[in-house]
Amino acid sequence: MASRPQTVRRPPTAGVNLSLNNPTVRAILYQIVVVGAVGLVVWYLVSNTIENLETRRIATGFGFLDREAGLPIGESVIPYSPADTYARALFVGLLNTLRVALIGIVLATLLGTIVGIARLSSNWLVAQTARVYVEVLRNLPLLLQLLFWWTLFRDLFPGPRQAITPLPGVFLSNRGVQLPAILWQPGYGYVLGAFVIGVIAAVAVSRWAKRRQASTGQQFPVLWVSLALILGVPGITFMAIGAPFALEQPELRGFNFVGGVTLTPEFAALLVGLVTYTAAFIAEIVRSGILAVNQGQWEAALALGLRRGQVLRLVVLPQALRVIVPPTTSQYLNLTKNSSLAVAIGYPDIVSVANTMLNQTGQAIEGIAIIMAVYLTISLSISAFMNWYNRHIALVER
């Protein structure tokens, strides 16, 4: 060994080798070339577009956002009038998108889980009903379903003057569902504070119960105590401040109902359409997740004396979730992006408002850029949250 010639390999010298023979130098060089080329392409596209817009005398820039919009928007979470700016109109559209997406995700998850479990039911009727639901809903185009629900809500109920009144203060008409609104009372701040305290206390109790069960094996009725804390604490506070309560009743004045809360046919159709459609996909994901858990897990847990519900909750679902969560994330993203079909049925979401804006101002590139930025932000946020949740429920090896 000692007789090996010295020329075969020299130890690395202290100086830096900048020749192209050095793989590190070559790698860095290629990176610079690639980044430079991509940068040039982007610069070319942007400058070319700006130049073309200028030669065609099409206005550019985002200055129009501060101009008065003059657009009417049918429903809004925040106060809005046509005298407000385009920026505020866009914000109204964004909130409308978020409203339908968030409520839609929650409801689609609930409905999808129920249908998914129902498909595995040993009851033939329940399983077949769930199966027909899934096969019909996921095999029809969503746009068609939205138009169906919208037409249904529009034509099912009579005009506002002949509105159906199933309960006092509740009106069903082709203008939507009118509900009485609960008016904010001065003491409600305390009730809200008590609710937060109740939730914190419930979390603390459940942690304590878990630790106690781990060390002593004794169980604690966590569900009932938590429920009592979450509902009871604000309830007692509500009574203590004298139970102030007032409703704003909707009433027919002129053409339409005034006061109360309105659930428009457009919002209802979009929500129902998105929820039932996405739930069909989530149901299949839930079913696949449960089936992915080995039958032996069921048998072992049952042999330990757990009830079927407990087996599902404590043994099967925690394992199934690892299979369920990643594909469900993409269903959430789909639901959010599909909400842009609102344009077809007149729900003022971000796409609808931005489309109108880019038409009134003629600045299509800026309008489309805003729409893309909004959807990218929403989608990446949902993705980030779901990835965090996925890590949280990942199998912890002990």
Partner: protein, 338 residues
């Protein structure tokens, strides 16, 4: 090194694509080369642009495009139509997807100055109105406080509507739907109390789509000026001239008493105005860059303005009104062809 070759190829590609972007081809040459005119029209507004039972596009806006095709290509049928919603129309023209936008579009300053398009004339003077079901018992637009109003987005209609209600201190709930068929469907289903658009559009919708046209009334208030006309991309003056003078030729023909039926009899007319019009004297077609028989082709194949109006608008029950020729007390005034 193969990588260097790749970089060189990329650079060459960029240089190649950079060149044509700066030089724009003229629309007239492009139209002559492809041998048809691409025309942006409404998705379906009877009287202005809508396909008939045979699938042939008919309407006063359609006739403008046919007139241009007759002038440039000598055949009024060499037109391809692109149905556009209110929201799509300007982008379609800006991007070069269509050669002419003839889609009951209101000429306004902001559109003319900031969209990169040029309006070339007016083929219909209109104004915005309101339609309500008769059974509501509404007699005036001033009684519409609190109403739900169906309206199409991306239109001047939408802006006039908010202006009018604000000026009169009234509230309304908008129901904004992009597709014309859906917005009128929503109105007839009772989703809104009021449908608003240009008065001609109201009449057209009432005639063509209402289950019973007599159940709906158009309120007397006309709340805006809506001069509707064709537009072209800015910066191509020759093409703008051709579209403008094709429109004038239809009006001039009415003024001279030339129709599709009698123009052949006037080919040898001694009237110098008619001689210029049919291309017997003067080189007016050549000046525009088209055939000297351009105006003859328009009238022979499409007809004059009055014929187009009678064919398309009169069946809707809309009086000629301010759309009469200037000498009959209207606003239509063609510039002289000479």
């Amino acid at each position: 090194m193969k990588y260097l070759g790749l970089v060189a190829a990329g650079a060459a590609l960029m240089i190649a694509t950079a060149a044509p972007a700066s030089a724009q081809q003229s629309t007239l040459d492009a139209v002559k080369a492809k041998d048809f005119v691409q025309c942006g029209v409404n998705t379906g507004l009877p009287g202005f642009s809508a396909p008939d039972s045979q699938g042939v596009w008919r309407g006063i806006d359609v006739d403008v495009c046919r007139a241009v095709a007759a002038a440039v290509l000598g055949d009024a049928n060499k037109v391809r139509f692109t149905p556009l919603t209110a929201q799509q129309r300007f982008t379609a023209l800006q991007s070069g997807e269509i050669d002419i936008l003839s889609r009951n579009t209101t000429w306004t300053l902001s559109r003319d100055a900031s969209l990169g398009i040029d309006f070339v004339g007016v083929n219909f003077y209109d104004g915005q109105g309101f339609m309500v079901p008769k059974k509501l018992g509404v007699k005036s637009a001033k009684e519409l406080n609190g109403a739900s109003v169906c309206v199409q987005p991306g239109t001047t209609t939408e802006l006039n509507l908010t202006d009018y209600f604000r000026a009169n201190n009234m509230e309304f709930t908008p129901v904004v739907i992009e597709l014309l068929a859906e917005v009128t469907g929503a109105y007839f289903a009772g989703r809104c109390d009021v449908y608003t658009t240009d008065v001609s559009g109201l009449a057209s919708t009432r005639m063509a789509q209402a289950p019973n046209p007599d159940d709906h009334v158009i309120l007397p208030e006309v709340i805006s000026k809506e001069p509707l006309g064709p537009s072209v991309r800015q910066g191509d003056d020759r093409w703008a001239d051709i579209v403008r003078w094709s429109l004038y030729a239809m009006l001039e023909a009415e003024e001279l008493g030339l129709t599709s039926k009698n123009i052949d009899e006037h080919l040898n007319s001694q009237n110098p105005s008619i001689q210029r019009f049919v291309g017997a004297t003067g080189d007016f077609g050549k000046m525009l860059g088209v055939d000297n028989k351009w105006a003859y082709n328009i009238v022979k194949q499409v007809g004059n303005y009055a014929e187009s109006y009678e064919r398309n608008i009169a069946p809707l029950g809309i009086e000629r009104g301010i759309n009469k020729l200037w000498r009959d007390g209207g606003l239509m005034y063609p510039m002289p062809i000479r």
